[in-house]
């Protein structure tokens, strides 16, 4: 069951965010193989039935959706095929799997090139997958096909900015903010773009407008403070930084800005030092949390890499050295399963479930391990 580790081939939604290995349901691989054989042999309707069943059972099983789409396309049902991939892509996007979403939506958009919604989704997925340059074409195509939505234009402007064309992004934002009733997001983003370019005096009124519209948004207030400080309007900047830290007491960058403005205003050394001390404390805490999280992830991934390489006993050693965290125990269980010892896998999963009883994924793994070991689920 842990053959599901070949991520990108067989993935259950929860696998991305929680445990690195989550078993597909029994028989999944056999069914996939059978459907693929049907597809290759030209038995498209038969393949469609199997893939549809698999996709219904496991909405996150990418290969099932892809296979279904191919089976449909082979039967000249291209719009249905595109819809299958479109749905999958949207789901992947919602789950934060941007690169996989971009890949699937790219296939969908090829099947239905005149569908503005698919083009827009593809552009969004590419933008979120840090491919802003590649996002521009589908977003522009969506607009040509009649997509006049604000979101598509905002994504396009963001893609232009991130791909190194800030002038084009600015033009688009300016189109959107023209008039007093320009949408908040466009006003804010244009303000941020000008701020990024060091055009503080131009950015400030836009960010004033955005802050007036979202008075409780700390990040907007912080951007405004930055613009005012850059433009030399120190009293306004001071007020905006103070409001930012009221709205978000953990906003360490705002404490830094506050300290700098206090220092520039002069005569407020004690207040400036206090703000700097807060800044340092908050920043250090965030850094330490990030360090721990990343280090644990890297250590766990070393174990999963060993599993991918087939070095199951090495993986067990690596996971065991990490102590008794639910993730490490699940990794050890995966390795024991692959070594053909579901009983020991179940033993580790029991400990994992005891540590994290709220984890549905672990309970499912435990049930399957017990079943495989011939015990009671």
């Amino acid at each position: 069951m842990y053959a599901a580790l070949r991520r990108g081939t067989i993935v259950v939604w929860i696998a991305c965010s929680a445990v690195r290995a989550v078993p597909a349901q029994a028989g999944t691989e056999e069914l996939l193989a059978r459907a693929a054989a049907d597809l290759t042999a030209g038995r498209f309707a038969a393949a469609e039935i199997v893939y549809r069943e698999l996709a219904a059972r496991q909405p996150g099983l990418i290969d099932a959706h892809r296979g279904l789409s191919r089976a449909l396309a082979a039967q000249q049902r291209r719009s249905e095929a595109a819809a299958v991939l479109g749905g999958l892509g949207e789901g992947l996007l919602g789950a934060g799997r941007h690169a996989a979403a971009a890949e699937v939506l790219g296939e969908a958009a090829e099947l239905a090139a005149a569908d503005p919604r698919l083009q827009a989704l593809l552009g969004k997925a590419r933008l979120f997958a840090q491919s802003p340059q590649a996002a521009i074409a589908p977003l522009e195509r969506a607009r040509e096909l009649g997509d006049a939505s604000l979101l598509t234009r905002l994504y396009l402007a963001a893609a232009l900015w991130e791909s190194g064309r800030p002038e084009a992004a600015e033009r688009l934002y300016r189109e959107l903010v023209a008039g007093a009733a320009g949408p908040f997001a466009a006003v804010h983003q244009l303000g941020r773009l000008l701020l990024w370019q060091g055009r503080f005096a131009e950015a400030a009124p836009l960010l004033e407008r955005a802050a007036a519209e979202r008075p409780a948004a700390a990040d907007v207030r912080f951007d405004l403070a930055q613009a005012l400080a850059g433009a030399g309007e120190l009293d306004g900047a001071l007020a905006a930084y103070r409001r930012t830290v009221e709205l978000s007491p953990g906003h360490y960058k705002a404490f830094y800005g506050l300290a700098r403005v206090l220092a520039r205003l002069g005569g407020q050394d004690a207040a400036a030092r206090e703000a700097l001390a807060t800044y340092q404390r908050l920043y250090a805490a965030e850094q330490e949390a990030t360090r721990r999280e990343n280090l644990e992830r890297a250590r766990l991934d070393r174990g999963w890499k060993a599993i991918e390489d087939g070095a199951y006993r090495e993986a067990i050693g690596l996971f065991e050295r990490l102590g008794a965290s639910p993730e490490a125990l699940a990794g050890t269980a995966a390795a024991w399963t692959l070594l053909g010892d579901p009983a020991r896998a179940a033993e580790h999963l029991e400990r994992a479930v005891a540590l994290a009883p709220e984890r549905e994924d672990l309970r499912r793994l435990l049930a399957e391990a017990r079943l495989a070991a011939g015990g009671d689920t």
């Binding site: 993935v11 690169a99 701020l195 800005g257 220092a263 700097l276």
Partner: protein, 542 residues
């Protein structure tokens, strides 16, 4: 030793035509000049972080013939390293005006290999000959110049040999006793045996781990006690400076004639230590140069120092990660700095680039400092689509008033590499700044500057801590600071070189580290002079 020689003064040549890429115009000439070198990171598929850091280089006149020689650091194999880098002797220019080099590694350098990172060239033992301090993953090394064309491994004899992971080093007479002291930036506490996998398992992409996973190693400050170095980190008030340092410069930032320290740290606050005489005061956060305008601590890599806005004090340029942009801190006086990266045009061109080595020099000889940044990503597959591993370098032309504009030319972009250490020197002594770059896992590049326009003036004032002012007829003053160690793990030539544009210099003023001052007036170009091409005026003081 205090030495001054005004070795070149050439007044304005006719400006180039309409081609914006004509001035400055560089030609990559490493092979033609006889400088053939490929850096080896020693990668064996385990993605050890030191393999991503590349190496530096140093310009030094090791044989005292007046021509800048070149030393390049070698790294791999990891972790023990191999050869002790390579040294090329500058043979000077031939009839065609082109300088060539001879590889003298075998006869000049001792067998003192290690996994190299950086090189500081400075006369650390005070005998008049430039030595090499080599930073490493593993014990650092001190190669003493014996003055006979060879170096000896004098690490132990001088009390050096710092273990762990060092990156950049800089030297200056910090305590005013006439001897060069040493600051060594240290990167991470890194254990190669730690079992980690960083990257994207789903896509099968392994990457170097983020430095945020590791604790920073503490920088070290060594005081020179007559040829033996003593660790004075704590005594000087520098204990606990563990900021994951990658770049360092030692220069007088507040005009009190004492060299201050500025350190570029990776994702932690950059350090700014004010020199109080025998101790340093940490003014990092209050100075405004510890973080960017937003208050974010960036991935500081390299540092260049220079007066980019012509107000007479040194400003600071720091290279960073992509998306962050490089940062330019203008010196406001009284140890206050302002991040002007966006409005100056210095930062935004680097949005999709990852900068390491950096130099401020007047490449086009128009009187304003320009910048060259060596770029190259850490990751073979950077997460952002329009960011690549090998990258083009960045050439920014300065207007002398703090503004920069990128100059994009085909010759600069035709062969992107993974740039790391960068250092400048007028190695062919034709009055313009040339550039050498060590690329991680790639060839060393030697960019010869063939500037045609603008006059120039070179002042040989090699004492670290010297400032040189050139004053034009209108009273406008341009200043250079003589430093040892800057950029990223590198050392540039110390001879201050001024582009004059169309102006005529009325005087040169030199303030020596020991407090003496020299003023030269009535400067006129004359034929000959220290082997320089064209007209020049040669004056030498000892």
């Amino acid at each position: 030793m205090v030495r001054l020689a005004l070795v070149g003064l050439v007044l304005a040549a006719p400006p180039a035509g309409d081609d914006p890429c004509a001035t400055p115009r560089f030609t990559e000439t490493a092979a033609d000049a006889g400088v053939v070198f490929t850096h080896d990171p020693g990668s064996r598929g385990e993605y050890h972080l030191p393999e991503s850091m590349g190496a530096g280089l140093a310009w030094l006149d090791y044989d005292g013939d007046g021509w800048s020689d070149l030393y390049a650091v070698q790294s791999g194999p990891f972790p023990g390293g191999g050869e002790p880098g390579r040294l090329w002797r500058n043979l000077g220019t031939g009839d065609d005006g082109r300088a060539t080099f001879e590889d003298v590694t075998e006869r000049a350098l001792p067998d003192a290999g290690g996994y190299g990172q950086g090189a500081l060239a400075a006369d650390l033992d005070g005998d008049g000959w430039t030595d090499l301090y080599l930073t490493r993953f593993g014990p650092d090394a001190f190669l003493r110049n014996r003055g006979d064309g060879t170096f000896e491994d004098a690490t132990a004899a001088f009390g050096l040999g710092l273990p762990g992971w060092s990156s950049s080093a800089a030297a200056a007479d910090a305590d005013g006793d006439g001897e060069l002291d040493l600051y060594v930036t240290r990167y991470l506490v890194y254990d190669p045996s730690e079992e980690l996998f960083c990257g994207d398992l789903e896509r099968g992409l392994r990457r170097f781990c983020d430095p945020v996973l590791f604790a920073g190693a503490e920088d070290r400050f060594f005081v020179n006690r007559g040829g033996r170095f003593e660790d004075a980190t704590a005594a000087a008030g520098l204990a606990g400076a563990a900021g994951k340092g990658l770049g360092v410069v030692f220069t007088d930032l507040d005009g009190d004639r004492r060299p201050d320290l500025y350190v570029a740290n990776d994702l932690t606050p950059n350090f700014l230590f004010r020199n109080l005489g025998r101790r340093f005061e940490d003014v990092s956060l209050f100075s405004g140069a510890a973080a960017n305008r937003e208050g974010a601590f960036e991935a500081g890599m390299g540092i260049a120092v220079g007066d980019v806005d012509g107000d007479g004090d040194p400003d600071l340029a720091v290279t960073n990660f992509d998306v962050e942009t490089n940062t330019l801190y203008l010196n406001l006086g009284s140890m206050q700095f302002e991040d002007v990266s966006a409005r100056s045009g210095f930062g935004t061109p680097s949005f999709n680039l990852l900068g390491f080595g950096v130099a401020l020099a007047d490449f086009d000889r128009d009187g304003g400092l320009d910048a060259w940044v060596a770029n190259g990503h850490i990751f073979e597959h950077p997460p952002r689509e329009n960011v690549t591993h090998a990258q083009r370098d960045l050439l920014l032309l300065g207007d002398g008033r703090g503004g920069f504009r990128e100059r994009r030319c085909p010759w600069l972009e035709e062969r992107p590499l993974v740039g790391r250490g960068l250092a400048v020197a007028d190695y062919d002594r034709d009055g313009d700044a040339d550039v050498a770059i060590v690329n991680n896992g790639g060839p060393l590049q030697l960019w010869r500057n063939d500037a045609e326009a603008g006059g120039w003036l070179a002042v040989e004032a090699e004492s670290v801590g010297t400032t040189v002012d050139v004053v034009d007829a209108g009273g406008r003053r341009r200043r250079r600071w003589v430093t040892a160690g800057d950029s990223y793990q590198s050392t540039s030539e110390r001879r201050p070189l001024f582009g004059l544009g169309a102006s005529s210099p009325a005087a040169v003023e030199v303030a020596w580290p020991d407090g003496r001052r020299t003023r030269l007036q009535g400067l006129r170009p004359s034929p000959g002079g220290s082997g320089d091409r064209g007209a020049g005026l040669a004056m030498r003081f000892r």
